[in-house]
Symmetry: C2
């Protein structure tokens, strides 16, 4: 396999971008990424997206967007793996270059969620879980995460304050992130007083419905070294799955797909959790952020919240996590989220992370999660020194 | 790159399968494919599907179906490229094995179309073209193909009878195909007297709305030789795109994506049109079958219909085409169609094609088309002697 590197990043601000369409957002992110890379010869495009069919009544995004970015003719496809669509899109792009079939590949993601009424979006998001056997019973997607949350507190004797703290830190980190959806602080009491969405999950513990697009330019490490002084190597790229619905699993408090994919990734990269300086976890709900810290090997089971409380996941802590605000505060445009995670990590690895810069960031691990852990894509990125 | 081979095929009968769900169909096809291959260690799964979001209100098919086929944990994703989803799924699976990252990969496709009302399905199919700028103007997907059809007759002075003949041959071929949707003959006058769907396209020139699932098992050629006496090598795998809507193109009478992808494929396989013994073209409408014969290099521009008239594309002709009935008569369960094309070709290459067997079939070319040629995947398969 050829070694693969990322040489360009492009992204839009995340928000309620009513004045621009899905294709507008994707074009902006793509052209910025190609400009950042300083190249324009593209061989293939992968578009991570979950809901364009139900929210925009548009499929065939691969060819559509290939044309709109000025590259009609290239190979293209839409990659769908629920909220992990972005991470899996990166995985496909990685293989496309690693295989030797394509030299320059765009790994993109886009989601346009705010043009539709919230019930439509909530329903579309629930397509990430098993509609026939789980969702039609009446539970919402937030409701499923609420079950996990409550069981976690019960089993480990953890207080909600300690879990909800995760959201407070995310907002703190987003204050310094120009592309973040929410650049404002919240206090723990704000989180706990915000409306209950599905008991015990409060509004401010949920990632916001957002619009956004993000794109990476991948090529061989060999070519990357000629293009830039700061190529970012993809040291590992792994995907794993699990039964879609939590009732089918042996253990509701560990996402097996995270464990499987991260194990493969650590092995591929020949790295361990202690080698990771920058972490991006999929905190669609605070509880998922806590579980990720445990499943990825950064905390013992039931002890993830302790890392948050002790400041270990802050930008100046031992395991800087979601330093740009994560899904919670940077925002969660579903199909693009996995790519934004890569971008936030790359800004750190390049030393371009501004006030939240982690000193000497060398290795970053990204966890992109679909549904309640039905699919997890793990990537490990490193500075190519 | 590692050489890649197909060692197992599995598929359902195509039809109005109201008694079975999307997942039932996919499980049946997958288990048959694994049984045919004689292995059960799967590393990754790609599911070609276009419309599960709008027709089944279900996404995240990769993980969902990985679990249902008894392989929770493996890497999985849904691949969407409109009606080329199956062909592109095969392309992704090919790269997954070729890259060295995965050893055994399932390339699958599934579509469940007949549970919904026809207007819903017609609308969902139109998502293959540009909704905002083309479909919302009032044209249907059939209507777009009708424009191409009329221009073709006008420019080349070809009569409708000669184009409609394609459907007659497809029905003839399907009579001997156990898994075909329509195992009955039609006469040319039946086709021309069938209802007009979009002038000049008659009902019997359109591929039928269908349910079905099909799966291939891919592994390295090295391992394939140990598993079976009839491994099928993937000699070429290529994908190309074009502007989604015909009004954006320089030439409405040639699918540029077919030309680009087939050129890449012939080069990769070191083969020419004259080396192809079995051809599978994407005849969603008769006119698309004719255009394919020209764009793939089997006929001069404007002369595709002559091949049909002269019997050249019949199973005993010079370029046996869609020997199992093609999209028109075998059926067109959208996301699965590209995989069914591979299966029909493999039955020929294995010598298992029954009454329609092409003598000494060695090389097969498959064309999987999305929309009116927005995406085209081309594969060349050969017997590994």
């Amino acid at each position: 396999m050829r070694e693969v590197a990322i040489v360009g990043i492009g992204y839009t601000k995340i928000g309620e971008l009513w004045e621009r369409s899905l294709r507008d957002l994707f074009v902006e992110a793509s052209l910025r990424a190609l400009e950042d890379a300083g190249i324009d010869d593209v061989d293939a495009l992968y578009v991570g997206n979950m809901m364009s069919g139900t929210l925009q009544e548009q499929e065939h995004l691969g060819a559509l967007l290939a044309g709109y970015i000025g590259h009609p003719g290239i190979a293209a496809a839409k990659i769908e793996a629920a909220c992990a669509s972005g991470g899996v899109s990166l995985h496909q792009a990685y293989m496309a270059v690693a295989s030797g079939l394509y030299d320059v590949v765009l790994a993109g993601g886009v989601e346009k969620m705010t043009d539709r009424l919230t019930p439509d979006v909530t329903f579309s998001l629930a397509m990430a879980d098993d509609m026939e056997y789980t969702i039609y019973s009446g539970v919402t997607f937030v409701g499923l995460n609420a079950l996990v949350y409550r069981l976690y507190m019960h089993k480990y004797g953890v207080k909600q304050e300690d879990i909800a703290n995760f959201a407070v830190l995310m907002h703190e980190n987003a204050v310094n992130t120009p592309h973040a959806r929410f650049r404002r602080r919240v206090k723990l009491e704000d989180v706990l007083r915000s409306p209950l969405i599905a008991d015990p999950i409060h509004l401010l513990e949920c990632a916001p419905i957002s619009d956004g697009a993000a794109v990476l330019v991948l090529t061989t490490l060999e070519r990357a070294k000629k293009l830039t002084d700061t190529p970012i190597v993809i040291r590992a790229s792994a995907v794993a799955t699990d039964y879609l619905s939590i009732y089918e699993r042996d253990d509701m408090l560990s996402l097996r797909a995270t464990v499987l994919a991260s194990r493969k990734a650590y092995k591929q990269a020949k790295l361990e959790p202690k080698d990771i300086n920058v972490l991006e976890v999929h905190d669609a709900f605070t509880i998922l952020g806590i579980l990720a810290l445990e499943d990825l090997g950064f905390a013992e089971r039931g002890r993830g919240a302790v890392l948050v409380k002790e400041g270990e996941i802050a930008p100046d802590g031992r395991v800087p996590t979601n330093t740009m605000g994560g899904l919670k505060a940077r925002g969660h445009p579903v199909g693009a989220t996995g790519i934004y995670q890569a971008i936030d990590a790359i800004l750190q690895l390049r030393g371009d992370a501004g006030k939240n810069q982690v000193p000497n960031a060398e290795n970053a691990l990204l966890q992109s999660t679909g549904g309640v852990g039905g699919t997890v894509a793990i990537h490990i990125l490193s500075r190519a020194d």
